[in-house]
Structure formats: structure tokens, C-alpha cells
Subunit: 344 residues, 2 copies
DNA sequence: GCAAGTTGCGCAAACGATTGCATATTAAAT
DNA sequence: ATTTAATATGCAATCGTTTGCGCAACTTGC
């Protein structure tokens, strides 16, 4: 039932009649300390239940051994999975991870950066908020000379390493698949935001169309925030068209889900009358009826790769900071919502 | 393009020909400093782009202004929502939050506690992992005299404040509802784990049955890990019974989802032949077909309440540490999966 | 005009660990 | 036996803030 007086290296030192320096070195396995002393130190450290004060250490050598991760939201399977990938690597390297959510809010993103900076994290890994168009706060991170790595929602406005998936390719594959299934009027839900992922998906959509000789019809491209309600609204808008689409590719799974609801409410047959596809392979997509065709982003892999690049940069200590750009290949997940013809 | 030399209060002091103490006090708005000096300090702080070193401050007064949150996983809507609630309050009080995931892994939970402790967090808010049956690591937190508050997955083995929902009541309401819909053979998916929430839900189930004169049949209570696959297996087992159930109440939404899949695959009509209900109101439950009846846990409210209790305890500084037990009322969300009769 | 407050600020010691340099002890080399 | 190296540890400064105590200077009251 011992109370406050936290045990420090000095207590250990005192008990062993050596100095704190020796204890410190012993605990850090410094080769200049004899094995005998090391054993003794370790032993009494256990006995006294010594807990190193990381704060003091951090103050001394300016490293907190904590890295900050900023995601728009942690409750999206994709992000939490990436985070998990990063965590795995970080923990192995004995780094702690502090997860922050920007909630796609620009102001909050700035605050978060400041909080992390003043917590003196050793580096930051981030996915940019949807509404962010100014990147000065990220530049401040770079000005501090601590590593910054972006994943998924990245930007070329910054000179940083970025890990993303090939959104263009993913979208292209989806649309090509829909065409192969016989769709000729394929709509697309996209976002007006500056984030490159949506622009890339749109590009994949248009290229796939033109490569297969299908004319581009701007009426079929609907901009929104890509949430469930947006998907519903977009779909309702599309159904009012003179000639309704026979396929919908939403840049988000939630958008596709909204479309599915509206289609079902209006008794359209999916995929026979309208084929449907989303993007992200959110877990719920396999629970819907029909199950939703989508694009898997290998989130865990992305996390690991991101962490890898990050720690590489961390070790290299701001010199060899050649920004890398890693592009991972996504995978098309075909499910009933788009499968008009029999098998695969 | 100025590089390393971080600006400290000493630089400010030097520039103003005062001492660091004064600068420190000025920055902390100490009443013993004249307004004039304060203005001057603030001004040059801006000019020099001064960033306080929280680590040094933390070292000095033993408080990091960081609190640790431990959740089994951040990608479950319930947990991430609670986290968000906590975050809101914490941020307002100028506390940073570090989110850790135990992944329901006992070892990892211990490691996490140690990591947080050595990061010198000012307190810990946690939801216990499913497999945890020994609570010594939490006792270590208490031994450090820093506040510890548990939410949702709690235990009475510790003398801590806990915030939970009335799982008993939620379960009772579900089962009563199923009975009112005409179900007479209601199965229940539960977990063998020590966590009280599942025991409470089971108790609600049995009480509701007996209160309505329905005999308890142990064949209808299936233990599992409550994930999707478990739900599938459990349902398959139930369908092999001589007399199949006409209702299933799963202690988790994922378990209910697994049951739904199996039932649909076997062409059973939901809810006509088998009514279905889950627990947690996970977002996907409204996307399934039929949409899943479930129990909402007011996660955001729980988060806020938890944070409230936590900071109360933090302020009170380990004296008045009377452990509180807050029980929130859940709400039954009735959807098609259980609605045999017409309206509500 | 003097004791007693008040106000505004400086001094210096913390907080706990790390680390360059110095020192003492022992071993190896000549 | 004496110089040279290696080995093992101690000394003391340092990281950037905070804070108890002390000391001026300036009010105030009588």
C-alpha cells in the first residue's frame, strides 16, 4: 500500500551504492557497464517496481517515442484497419501511437496538428480531411523537421511521402466490369472536394467509358458528399432522368447503399435493371441484399507500408528525405449487386 | 527558413530583459504579473513563434494533460462513438486523448496499460476486453492514484466508477417485444465470457420469458463469440433442433446478422417464420434486408457521461473517490426483422 | 512620516533521465 | 616494471518549465 514517492533511478542507485548515471546506462544496456552491474540494477528495478519516467527521458533527448496519427474518423473500417497496420509496426519498434480524429473538419484538423506538435510527437501520419484545401498546418509540421507521411487522402501540394491506392485503376476496373455485365448507361457518384481520390475515381470512370466506346453523359455524373442520404438523393435525381441509368458506380459504399435503398423502394431489380457498385469494401457491403460489388483497398497493407515509409524517414533523420509516392493496387470485389450474367 | 534552435521562454525573457520565471507566469496568466508585462510577453511570444514545450511542463508538475482511452476496437461504431463523446469533453478541458485498442486481447491490454502508465497519462478510461478475467493491471493503475473509469464492459471486481447501460432492461424489452409479436420459442445467442454485459442480457432474456409464462429451454441458448461466423454456426445448430425457434435474440448485432444470412440461405421467412433481433444498433443493422431490430445504447451520451465522471474524479484528486455506478437506459429499435404484426 | 500591505518580479531549485568527459581500476603489451 | 589500452563507473551539466521564497518599490492608513 505504498503511496506517492515514485521510485526513480536515484533510488535504485542509492540502494546499490552506485550513481544514477550507471543505473541509467545499465537500464539502457550500455556496453560500458559490466554485466554484473546490469543484473543487479535490473533486479532491484524489479524489486522496487521501478517505472521509467518517459517524460523526463523525452525532455532530455527531445524524442517522445510517440507518433501521431490523424484520420478523418476512426469508425470507418478502412481507416481503423490502416491504423491497426500502423500500430502493429510502431509497437514492434517500441513506439506508442496516439490516434486523433479530424472528423473531416478543417478547424479541428488544425487544432489536432497543434495538439500533436505541442505533445512533441516524433512524427505524424495523416489522412487529410475532405474539406481541407489549405495545407499550411502540415507545412508547420515539416518546418519542425519531424517526419510527415500521408496516406489515402493525400495531396500533391505538399512535398511528402504518400501512400495511396490506385483509385484510377480501381474505378476503371469497376466500370469495365459493369460494361462487361451489359451496362450502357452508367452513372457515377462523385465528390466536389479537392481530395485527389475522388478525382482519380472520376478519371477512371470516364476513361473506362471512352475506352469501351461509351459516350460520356454529364447528366449521369452526380456530385455530393457521398454519404447515405446523398446516395439516396442522387439516385432519386437519376431516376427522374428521361432515360434512367442501368448501372451506378458510387465513389463510396455509403453512397451506393443509399442508391440501393431507393432502387428497392421503387421496386427496381438489382442488378437486372440497375447494377450497383461502391468503393472501399466496407464490411457492411457484404451484409446488404444484394451484396454490394465494391473495391477493396488492402487497408492493413496500406497501414504497414505507411508505417514502413514513415519509420524509414524517421531513422534517416531529415536528410535523405526524398518523398516517396507508393501506389498500391486495389482489387475488384464482385458481388450480386452487379452480377447480371451467371458466374464470374 | 530558420532551423533547429527551438525558441523557449528564455529567449522571450532575454528579448524583454526579464527572467524566464516572469515569462512563464505571464504565459500562465498569473495574477502576480502586471498586465503590461503580460501583453509584452504574449506579443514577443507570437513574434518568435514560441511553442510551449509540454514535455518540460509535464515533467515539472507531474501532469501530462493526456488521458488514455482503451477500447477493444475502435472500428465498432459503438466504441468510436463513445470515444467521440469523451473526446468532445476532454478537448474542451484542454486535455488530449490517446486512443488505444486492446483488440480483446488480454496480453495486449496489459501492454497497453503499461504503455499508458509510462507515457504518464493523467488518467485512464477503459472498456474491458472480452477475454480479460484478471484485473491486476487495472489495479496497478489505481495504485498509481490516477483516475480510472470503466464504461460498458465493466466489472465489479474493481472499485471504480463505471458507466454502463442497463443491459438487463434492453434484453428484457427485446424479448418482451418478440413475445408480443407472437414468438413462443425464442433462442438467445450469448457469450461465455466473464464480462457482465452478456450475463445481464441473458438475465433479461430469462426473466422476460418467465414473466410471460414461457418455459426456459436450455437448447435455445447458444454460447459463442458472437461474431458473424458464430451467429451462422449458432443458427445452423438451432435449425437442426427438433422444434426450430420462431425468434432469435442475439446479444450482438453481428451474431444476428449471421443468423439472418443462414435463415435467408435456407429460405426461411424473416420475421414470419423466425423473428430476429440484435443488440447495439450498429449502423449496418439498418442496411440489412430486412432491417434488423436491435437496442440502441446511446453511445455518445455514454461517452459524455463517462468523461464527466472521469474529470470529476480527476479534479477531486483521489480523495472523494467514491466510485459511482451510472446505468443508462437503452432504447429498443424495432425494425422489420421482428415486426410480424402490422404497425408498432 | 512610518509601519504594514500590496504589487511585480528575480533567484534558484526542482522534475527524472541522459550523456560528454574525467577518473579509477585492471589487463595487456613491450 | 612501466607504458598503453581497455573497462567500469562517477561527476555535473542539461533538457524547458514551474514555483516557493525573497526582495524591492510603491501604496495606503493614521
Amino acid at each position: 500500500m505504498e503511496s506517492k514517492p515514485k521510485v526513480t533511478i536515484h533510488h535504485i542507485a542509492e540502494k546499490l551504492n552506485i550513481t544514477a548515471s550507471t543505473v541509467s546506462r545499465a537500464l539502457n544496456d550500455n556496453p560500458r557497464i559490466s554485466d554484473l552491474t546490469k543484473k543487479a540494477v535490473l533486479k532491484t528495478a524489479k524489486e522496487l517496481n521501478y517505472q521509467p519516467n518517459n517524460i523526463a527521458a523525452a525532455l532530455r533527448h527531445g524524442k517522445s517515442h510517440i507518433i501521431g496519427i490523424i484520420v478523418p474518423t476512426a469508425d470507418r473500417a478502412f481507416f481503423s484497419s490502416v491504423v491497426r497496420g500502423i500500430e502493429d509496426i510502431a509497437n514492434n519498434l517500441n513506439y506508442k501511437v496516439i490516434i486523433c480524429q479530424s472528423y473531416d473538419n478543417y478547424e479541428k484538423e488544425i487544432q489536432t496538428i497543434d495538439a500533436l506538435l505541442s505533445a512533441r510527437v516524433d512524427g505524424i501520419i495523416a489522412s487529410i480531411g475532405k474539406n481541407t484545401e489549405n495545407f499550411d498546418h502540415f507545412k508547420r509540421v515539416q518546418a519542425e523537421k519531424i517526419p510527415l507521411v500521408l496516406f489515402d487522402r493525400t495531396t500533391d501540394a505538399l512535398e511528402v511521402s504518400q501512400i495511396m491506392i490506385d483509385d484510377y485503376l480501381g474505378a476503371y476496373k469497376v466500370v469495365e466490369h459493369l460494361i462487361q455485365q451489359g451496362c450502357r448507361r452508367i452513372a457515377h457518384f462523385t465528390s466536389p472536394k479537392k481530395v485527389s481520390i475522388f478525382k482519380e475515381r472520376l478519371r477512371g470512370y470516364t476513361d473506362a467509358l471512352s475506352d469501351h466506346g461509351i459516350p460520356y453523359d454529364e447528366d449521369l455524373v452526380v456530385q455530393s458528399n457521398l454519404q447515405l442520404v446523398d446516395g439516396r438523393e442522387s439516385m432519386e435525381k437519376l431516376l427522374k432522368l428521361k432515360e434512367r441509368p442501368d448501372g451506378v458506380f458510387s465513389a463510396s459504399d455509403y453512397g451506393a447503399m443509399g442508391a440501393m435503398q431507393v432502387l428497392k423502394e421503387n421496386k427496381y431489380k438489382i442488378p437486372q435493371e440497375v447494377a450497383l457498385a461502391g468503393f472501399s469494401n466496407d464490411p457492411f457491403t457484404s451484409f446488404t441484399d444484394p451484396a454490394l460489388t465494391t473495391v477493396d483497398q488492402f487497408s492493413m497493407t496500406m497501414g504497414k507500408k505507411t508505417a514502413e515509409i514513415f519509420f524509414e524517414q524517421l531513422k534517416s533523420g531529415d536528410k535523405t528525405a526524398v518523398p516517396q509516392k507508393i501506389v498500391l493496387k486495389p482489387e475488384l470485389i464482385i458481388r450480386e449487386s452487379s452480377l447480371k450474367k451467371g458466374s464470374l
